[in-house]
Symmetry: C3
Subunit: 320 residues, 3 copies
C-alpha cells in the first residue's frame, strides 16, 4: 500500500499539520553550508511535467537532490499524451523503472488520480493538474501562515482568509481553500461574477465559504489576503473586459487594505503581475509574505518526498 | 583500447550471454530499498539524443545514476547536426570533457559507428540509429526470453521466433534478429511485401531466416511472437493502404495465436497501438511478456554501462 | 558579501592568475579513473540558460558534478523573460531555493550584472551575455596559452595576440581582450570595417589595442592568432558581402601564417566553420591549440565554481 499526495481535499487537520511540521524541520537544511541529508539515498524520484514549468520543477528537483535521492526530469510534450491510454502507457513504462515517487504536472484535471489508480508501487505527487489542485503550493502557503501567526503568538486555526481574482480557474486557490476548511477557517472568494460565480462556494460544501463581488466588501475584516495570478489570456476569453478595467476594481493596494483589514498579511503564489493583481507597495511592503512563500517551497517539497518515499518502519502507521 | 556497443551484429553467443548474465545480476538492485551501487562512482556518462525520446533516455539516465555515475543529458536539435562534420565537432567537444561513455541516439544509420571511429577515449553505446540497430532493446528482449524459458526449464537457444509488422524500418527487429541468429535460433519475418520485402531475409546472410506474407502461415509453430510498432505515418508513405486494412490482416489476436502457436509468448517493444499490431487481450493476457520487457530495461542498461565504463583490471580481457 | 564572475573587465592580473592556477590544479581531476572530488558536496549550482547551448551548459554541468555539487539546469524560453522585471522575478524565485551559484547565459548584455545587483546570497557566473562578455571562455583560452608558453619556457605576459573576424559582435573576443590587457599584452583586431570599426579599439581605453583591416598586415609578427566564429546570419545583416568573399580575404590559412607570423599558435573558440574562418590544415595542424582549449573547459569551470562556492575559511581574503 503506497501513499500519494493528490490533493488537499480529503486531508484531515492532523495530516496537514504533519506535512507542515515535517516541512518546518527541513527549512533549516537549506540554510546550512552543506545543504544535504542522506535520508533518501538510493531512492528514485521521477518528475514528469506535461506542462512547462520552471519554478515548480526546479523546486522539486532541488528538494529531491537535497534528500540525496536520484532525480530524473521527463518533459513530455502534450502531443504524445493526447489519450488517457497513452498517458497510462507512458507512466507504466516509467513505473517499470522502479521509481519511488512520480511527481506529475498535467493540464487535465484528475490526471494524477488516474495515474495513481493504475500504479501499484510508486507514490504519486500532484504538482498541479488543470484547474483542480496544486497541493504542494497550498502546503507552502499554509506553512508560511503558520510561521507568521506563530511568531505573533497566534494560531493559524480560526482565521479569516480571502482569495482575490481568478478563483474559478485557480488550482492554487482550490487547494488552499480545502486546507483552510480542514483547519476550521473562514474563506471569502472575491472577484467579478465571471471569475467568481455565485455558486462557486457550493463546490466546497461548507457554510464557511462565502462570495463577494466588491473588493472593499470582500476584504472587510480579513486576516489574510491571497492575490491570485491573472492569466493574461483571460481577456481574450472574455472573462474580464480588459486588464485596466479589472485592476481598477480588483487590484489589491495598500490604500484599500489599510481601510478594510489593516492587520492583514498578503500572499501571492507568483509569478506576479505588479499593478494588475497587487500593487508594488503591497508586494514589497511589510505585510507581504510573498518572499517567505517561495523560501518555503523547497522545504515543503522535501517534506512531501520524505514522507512518501522513506522506507516505512514496520510499526509505523500513517495517521498519528 | 575502448569497447563500444554499436550493434548486436557481430557479437558472439558468448558476448551476448555475458551482457545478459550481468543484466540479470542487476535486476535485483532496482528492487532494493536502496537502489544504488557505488560501482561507477566518479565516472561520467553523457546521453546525447539527436532524436526525441522519453523512455530510452530515462532508462539510461536512471541506469547511470543507480551505478553512482554522473549523468549528463544533452538533447541536440536536428538543426545543429545537419552535416557529419558538425556531428563530429559536437561529439569531439563532448569527448574533451572526458566522459567514460557516450550514449547516442541518431536518426541516421551508422552515426554511432562514425562517432566511435573518431573517438579514442570514450566508449560509445548505440541507443538507436535510424532503421539500423537498437542493441540495448534487443538485449532486454533477449533477457526477457531467457528468464521466461529458464523458468519453464527450457533454453533460449534453439527456439523459433517471428517478427510481425514493419520489419523493414525496425531497428528493434534488426538487432533482435542478429541476436537470435547468434544464439542459433530460427527467425521468421511476417508482414505485407511493402514492409517485409521478399529479399529482406538475405540481409542477414543466414538460411535460418525466412519470410512469410500471411499472418497465419507466419505464426505457425512459433515459440515467440514479436509484434512491432506500426509508425502511423507509414500510411501517408503508402507502405500500407490504411491502418484498418493492415490490422485486419496482421493484428496479432488471441484467436490466431491459439490456432497457430498455442504455446507462444508475445513481446512488443512499445509503445503499443492496441488494436493495430496486437489486440488488448493478448497484450494484457497470460502469454504477454511485455510488462517484463520494460522491467528489464534499466538492468540491461546498467549492465552495458558497467561492462564498458568500469575500470578494467589489468589482467582482465573482454572475451571470457 | 558574495563574489561573482561577471566579466574579465576589471579583474587584476593577480585575480586572473588565481583562476588559472586553480584551474590548472583541476585539469588532473578529469583525467583520473574516479573523476570526482568531494569539495562542493551539499552545494547547489543552478545553470539558467536563456539562450540555447549544448557545449557550455554541458561543461558547467559536468564541472559542478565532478565537484560533488548538486546541479540543476533550467532552460528558460526567451518568451518568459521579455522584461527585466520578469528576469528578476525568475531569478529571485531561484535564489529563494538557496543555490550557492547561479550560472546565467542571456542574450542581453548586462543581464548577469543586473541579476547580481539584486541578489544577496548567491554568486553569479556570467556564461555569456549578448555581445558583452564570456569570461569562462576567456579564462580557458588564457589557460591554454599559459600552458603552451610555459612548455616552451616563455611567459604568457608580454605577447602579441590578434583576433580575426567578427570582433564587433564577439563576447569571446571582448573577454579575452580585457584579460590580455590586464596581463600587459598587445592586442590587434583584424577584419573588415563592418566587423572591426576603426573606433572599436577605443572601447578598451588602452594604447596597446590596434586595428588592422588587412589580414596580412594584421597577422604580422603575432605570437597568437584567435580566429573568431563567423555567425552565418551576418550575411543577411549585410555586415559582410557573402561568406565566399569574406573567406577569400580573412580565412586564416597555413600559407598566410607561414609568411606573416611563422611561430604563431592558433586558437578558435568553436564551433568552427572550416574554410570560412580558418582552413582545415591550420585547425588540425601543429600550431593549433584548439583541441587543448576544449580540454581546458571543464577545469576552468571547476575552478570558478570552486572559488565562488566553497565555504570560505574565516581568515581567508579574496585578494592574495
Amino acid at each position: 500500500m503506497v501513499d500519494h499526495l493528490l490533493g488537499i481535499e480529503g486531508l484531515s487537520k492532523n495530516e496537514i499539520h504533519r506535512y507542515l511540521e515535517s516541512a518546518q524541520s527541513f527549512v533549516e537544511v537549506s540554510e546550512r553550508d552543506i545543504k544535504k541529508v542522506p535520508t533518501l539515498r538510493g531512492k528514485t524520484i521521477v518528475n514528469i511535467f506535461f506542462e512547462p514549468s520552471t519554478r515548480t520543477l526546479a523546486s522539486f528537483d532541488i528538494a529531491g537532490k537535497r534528500l540525496s535521492a536520484d532525480t530524473i526530469n521527463v518533459s513530455a510534450g502534450a502531443s504524445s499524451v493526447k489519450k488517457g491510454e497513452t498517458l497510462l502507457d507512458t507512466v507504466r513504462t516509467l513505473e517499470s523503472m522502479n521509481p519511488d515517487v512520480l511527481v506529475i504536472r498535467h493540464s487535465e484535471s484528475g490526471a494524477p488520480h488516474f495515474v495513481a489508480q493504475h500504479l501499484s508501487r510508486a507514490s504519486v505527487v500532484n504538482a498541479g493538474d488543470g484547474a483542480h489542485e496544486h497541493p504542494t503550493q497550498a502546503l507552502l502557503d499554509l506553512l508560511t501562515l503558520r510561521q507568521h501567526f506563530a511568531e505573533s503568538g497566534r494560531d493559524i486555526e480560526g482565521i479569516k482568509i480571502g482569495f482575490v481574482g481568478d478563483v474559478r480557474h485557480s488550482r492554487v486557490a482550490r487547494s488552499n481553500i480545502w486546507g483552510h476548511l480542514a483547519l476550521g477557517n473562514r474563506v471569502r472568494l472575491i472577484g467579478p461574477t465571471t471569475l467568481v460565480p455565485r455558486d462557486l462556494a457550493t463546490v466546497f460544501r461548507s457554510d464557511r465559504v462565502e462570495v463577494a463581488h466588491s473588493l472593499q466588501e470582500g476584504l472587510d475584516g480579513l486576516d489574510v489576503v491571497v492575490c491570485l495570478r491573472m492569466q493574461l489570456e483571460r481577456q481574450d476569453e472574455h472573462f474580464i473586459p480588459n486588464l485596466d478595467e479589472y485592476s481598477k476594481e480588483y487590484c489589491v493596494s495598500e490604500r484599500v487594505l489599510a481601510r478594510c483589514c489593516p492587520q492583514s498579511v498578503v500572499l501571492h503564489p507568483g509569478p506576479m503581475n505588479r499593478g494588475t493583481e497587487v500593487t508594488g507597495d503591497v508586494a514589497d511592503g511589510p505585510r507581504s509574505l510573498i518572499r517567505r512563500q517561495v523560501n518555503n517551497g523547497v522545504a515543503v517539497r522535501m517534506a512531501v518526498l520524505y514522507l512518501l518515499a522513506r522506507t516505512a518502519e514496520p510499526h509505523e502507521v500513517f495517521e498519528p
